[in-house]
């Protein structure tokens, strides 16, 4: 459908200093970070914790270069808001998906089989996840500094228990566990003064990513009450995804007969080469210079030169989750997200094809003002199915839960290639829907009467 959006109504006044730095911020490169889940026993403990946390949480976009920033972000599950004593009327005003939580939505978004919440890592999907703290930094020193106060706040507040912790850091290769550069694409959001990664993307309305501003439909996103709680907040779907790197390498090896073929097949499944160079701009071979260039590595559309997908297959991972102007059912601009992937666990050494039993993968944070229309839609329609691109039943070759029966179509001349009996390479270990309030809202949560 029509991908070129109207740019009318520019100059929307975003209160960026009231938005948590960790909400809309691109991930630094390199990066190190922590995710911490907390349970609060009662509302007084929760509010005391919040008051102590507040000085650690900054608003706005501190510097022009995101690689220089470190931040701590505070988010809450529905259970967490309840534990904090948020009035029922206010709790009821949150959107259904958030109130139900990700585990309750598992069948909808395809977290079934191995990825079923019954097999999730505790405390994911339980009532023991109330507060979700995250911190990201370009280096360990700044991370420690950013976390210092938050850590003290957690330790010194009775009735607050750390229920889960996860360290994330960029691998020495600078790539994901599967071996590809990530953190490339960032949407262009109107009124932020933060450039998007694709100069050809018309700015998206702020209301796609922040509560309190008009979105792409022209309406305000549904906002919880009271206004002070909702305004300048957003939602984050936080997921722990285990990656089966050995299975990925074995699959590629078994279905190719040379190193070059193997690299090409992997690129056709991902949509980029390991350096980050997109297939649409470099269809034949990797191009490290292109992959390293932030002004070029995401600066492309599909329709004009690659609508049929002979360069980047319509079913490739990056084209599914961000189809840009490609021919699809529906309007891609209604389903944009900020994606912030961070790696956990040790890398599987280069060349190793046998699983070493180590847990490795990513903590994915998917941010937007509309959980159902953005994260859940993308997962169900674009990752778990291919009807929108004319391949009904085909899942994302990388992120899909194939279970050994998956297929993927790769357009080629004279006829398409079709991968069959694809195994799953990714298993969901857990996930939570979180509300990431603005700073005024955090203060209101800490002292609703004040």
């Amino acid at each position: 459908m029509n991908a070129s959006a109207s740019t009318s109504g520019t100059g929307v006044d975003v209160e960026i200093d009231d938005v948590q730095s960790g909400a809309l911020h691109p991930r630094p490169v390199p990066y190190v970070g922590r995710f911490v889940f907390l349970r609060v026993d009662d509302r007084d403990a929760g509010r005391t914790l919040l008051r102590r946390l507040l000085p650690s949480v900054e608003g706005g976009l501190p510097s022009a270069d995101p690689n220089q920033d470190a931040w701590v972000a505070v988010a809450f599950t529905y259970q967490g808001l309840r534990a904090l004593g948020v009035p029922q009327e206010s709790l009821d005003s949150f959107p259904r998906a958030f109130r139900q939580g990700m585990a309750a939505r598992a069948h909808l978004i395809g977290d079934v089989g191995e990825s079923d919440p019954a097999h999730w890592e505790p405390p994911f999907g339980t009532a023991d996840v109330h507060v979700v703290l995250s911190a990201l930094s370009p280096d360990e020193a700044r991370l420690e500094k950013a976390l210092e106060r938050a850590r003290a706040a957690c330790q010194e507040t009775p009735g607050v228990t750390v229920t889960w912790q996860q360290e994330v850091r960029q691998l020495p290769t600078g790539r994901t566990t599967f071996g590809f550069r990530d953190g490339i694409s960032h949407p262009h959001i109107e009124g932020l003064g933060l450039p998007g990664s694709n100069s050809q993307e018309a700015p998206l309305k702020a209301g796609e990513f922040l509560l309190g501003y008009p979105d792409e439909t022209g309406n305000l996103p549904p906002m919880p009450s009271p206004d002070v709680l909702g305004r300048n907040g957003t939602y984050a779907a936080v997921r722990k995804l285990h990656t089966n790197v050995a299975a990925w390498r074995q699959y590629l090896r078994a279905h190719t007969s040379s190193e070059q073929e193997e690299a090409l097949l992997a690129a056709k499944m991902v949509g980029r080469w390991p350096s980050g160079a997109p297939l649409t701009l470099s269809p034949e071979h990797d191009d490290a210079e292109l992959g390293n260039d932030p002004h070029r590595n995401n600066d492309f559309l599909y329709r004009e030169n690659d609508d049929r997908g002979f360069r980047c297959p319509a079913g490739a991972h990056i084209r599914r989750v961000n189809p840009r102007d490609a021919t699809i059912i529906g309007d891609a601009r209604m389903h944009r997200l900020i994606r912030r992937g961070t790696t956990y666990g040790p890398p599987l050494p280069e060349g190793v094809l046998e699983d070493d039993g180590a847990d490795r993968g990513l903590i994915g944070v998917f941010i937007g003002a509309h959980i159902e229309r953005q994260f859940e839609f993308i997962k169900t329609e674009w990752v778990n199915d291919g009807n929108f691109i004319g391949y009904p039943g085909e899942q994302d070759p990388v992120a899909g839960h194939h279970g050994g029966t998956g297929s993927a179509t790769i357009p080629e001349q004279p006829v398409r290639r079709r991968l069959q009996n694809l195994p799953g390479f990714v298993v969901t270990r857990g996930g939570e829907y979180c509300f990431l309030p603005g700073l005024r809202a955090l203060r209101w949560l800490a002292e609703p009467e004040g």
Partner: protein, 196 residues
Amino acid sequence: MATTSDATSSDQPERPGMKDGVCSEFTVFTEIKPGHADALRRDLAMMADGSADKEARGALEQIGTLHDARHVMFDNDTRHMFASVFDGSWDTYIDDFGKTVIGERFDRVFSHTEGFPGITDPGVKDWFLAHQAPAGVFVSSYPDLTVQQIWKDQRVSEAFQAVLDTPEFRAALDNPANAELLASPAFRRLMEEAER
């Protein structure tokens, strides 16, 4: 890939309606505003008119998940029924279509019914749900086929029949170099299906 009808009816209370394979039914009953029956009839006639056919086809192509739909006025022009069959769920793309010609067509028709908030209104899904009556029985003769697949099947079938009509194809069949292909089970199945 298809979820079972059980999962749809029991686990998704927000999406009532019956499912058979990949598609589901969606039927809405509304009250026609007093004095609007003639205007609604005119709008429906205009949408059904041959001159609007191109727009209608274009709209269907744009939706890409609608198998069929009908608007019916009944009870002495006091009520209106919209009955449809969609791949997946009726509301999957409703936000996407709010700004398109499809949205305009919905707005035009439902503006004659009581309480319709407008297709781009955030409350429109709830309004449709409040007026939906789930079917007691819903069956499809092609439960595995989405609209996209049906369109593709038709295009491929027509193109393949055209190949069968060429003398070059005939010659290729007679060419001993192709004997191996002709003898393969996959190719024999193709020829068999083409005969039907």
